[in-house]
Amino acid sequence: MIVDAFIVLFGVLALVFAGIVLVARQPMRAALALVAHMTSLAAIFACLDVHVIALFQVLIYVGAVMVFMVYTIMLLDDRDLAYRKRFSATLVPGVAVAVVTGLALLRVLGPAGPGAPTTTTGLGPFSFSAFSAAFMTRYWLHFELATVLLLAGIVAAWAVIREER
């Protein structure tokens, strides 16, 4: 029960911070709101007993992705033209498309989810050892492919930076 209350609380927080991302004028404010949003999601994951994912959410998103983002914001000129006007010309159609997409997705996903009942068996399937075992057995190919993707990303980013010089 108290877990449900926490999930609702952090869900509302996630929504609010996502809204701030949408309307903030300063990219730094938007980035901070995004950090808060990601942390709220991590809290939801922790409430669902998926501690490892919650920690990876903080580690990867807050610790790596957002640090990159903040670094970029830091290095860019804050007298940019884009900081003065928030929204582009497609404001009204954009809102319409987003609402329609949301409703459509809700129609597809929302009411009738996959049927297995929620069994609260504690930490069982989501312990760290279970994750490690799954990655070494079932997902080893995906895991290796992911590392290849990472390598490709690093090489590509490096190439982009080189091109600059």
Partner: protein, 375 residues
């Protein structure tokens, strides 16, 4: 439920007191140790006067930390003319709170059964029952991950501080701090993976128990110990890695524009981080809260001789052992600060990427191979 709340509330209060108290003591240690190393006397003027008497407790200047804190609190909160108010005020907290949070997964004692502290049958013993708790705020099964994840958040605080001050020196300091912390976090993570492979667990408490069974981690993983210590000192931005705040070039780096307690938070978080790093080093490599031959029932010497101790005595011994080890490792870190000169920035990056990272990878490979052979 109620015993849980009470026990964990006490843990949190104890850990906060432990961290802040030890951090304050380390500010004193840093001055006094440097003084003794340099044939000086060191800070010795601040004193506490017992009220209504003329008895002044000087205690070798131990209260200079309190004097500094009071000074910080009562100073004028001067802010730069143009700055980003929200980010400026948020940054010190974002930099200092994660440091405190990291300690949540560090075990500072073994199992404790509060019911055994009291007379059997008394109300307190009934309240706690037979339950025992690990002396750890959050007994997470992914302890190491928590350490890495939360300590990564602190980078945001330093970057925000540098950016929002609207000062070029702060900005340079923040850029340096961010690059340095990201670089050394990689090496630290790799070093920790080797440790995880050796112990076969990511739970810090299980690591301590493994070390009690086999041998201290510093004997099993000396390279990982060095790598972790180096990388974490670099993460803490202390000499010899204090490029982000080097006084001779960047004034104070990313917190140049901060005054009063906001700057105090940055400084205090540096000292809290010394405590936290020492606690992690102690937990991962120096046997944590365990003493040799100390078992839950008392001292059990290898010959079979036992010296029975009460549960309370064992718990107190474990907590004191942990505190003493943390203090010694912290003093060692401060000793490094007074010994080594500062790196140049390219040397710093070279050390991180060209030396520590390959060494950590090599250590990981060797560890994995050895583990594979012995498994």
């Amino acid at each position: 439920m109620m015993p849980d709340l009470l026990v964990h509330g006490l843990y949190i209060a104890y850990v906060l007191g432990f961290l802040l108290g030890l951090a304050t003591i380390f500010t004193w240690v840093e001055r006094k140790q440097s003084a003794v190393m340099a044939d000086r006397i060191g800070a010795n003027r601040a004193y506490l006067r017992i009220p209504f008497t003329q008895v002044k407790l000087v205690w070798w200047g131990l209260f200079h930390g309190i004097a500094d804190g009071l000074k910080m609190i009562f100073k004028e909160n001067f802010t730069p003319a143009t700055y980003d108010r929200f980010c400026y005020n948020l940054a010190p907290w974002l930099a200092s709170v994660p440091v405190l949070l990291v300690f949540a997964v560090v075990p500072f004692g073994g199992e404790v059964t509060p019911g055994r502290f009291f007379e059997p049958g008394s109300a307190a013993a009934e309240f706690f029952g037979d339950r025992s708790w690990r002396m750890q705020i959050a007994a997470l099964d992914a302890g190491i991950l928590f350490v890495l994840a939360i300590s990564g958040v602190g980078i945001l605080g330093t970057m925000l501080a540098g950016w929002s001050s609207n000062n070029k020196f702060s900005m340079l300091g923040a850029a340096r701090a961010a690059s340095q912390m990201i670089s050394y976090e990689v090496a630290m993570g790799l070093a920790l993976i080797a440790v995880v492979v050796t112990y076969g667990t990511v739970d810090l408490n299980d690591m301590v128990l493994w070390q009690q069974q086999a041998a201290w981690g510093i004997l099993v993983q000396p390279v990982a110990f060095l790598l972790f210590l180096t990388a974490s000192i670099a993460e803490n931005k202390r000499i010899p890695f204090d490029l982000p705040e080097c006084e001779s070039e960047l004034i104070s780096g990313y917190f140049t524009e901060y005054t009063s307690m906001k700057m105090g938070l940055f400084l205090l978080s540096e000292f809290i981080e010394i405590v936290v790093i020492s606690a992690l080093v102690v937990t991962l490599f120096l046997g944590g809260y365990t003493l040799p031959f100390l078992r839950p029932e008392g001292f059990v010497l290898p010959g079979g001789a036992t010296w029975e101790l009460s549960h309370f005595a064992v718990v107190v011994l474990q907590v004191l052992t942990f505190t003493a080890k943390v203090f010694v490792v912290g003093c060692f870190q401060i000793g490094i600060r007074w010994t080594l000169p500062r790196f140049r920035y390219d040397q710093l990056m070279d050390l991180g990427w060209k030396f520590l990272l390959p060494l950590a990878a090599l250590n990981l490979v060797v560890t994995a191979v050895v583990r594979w052979w012995t498994l």
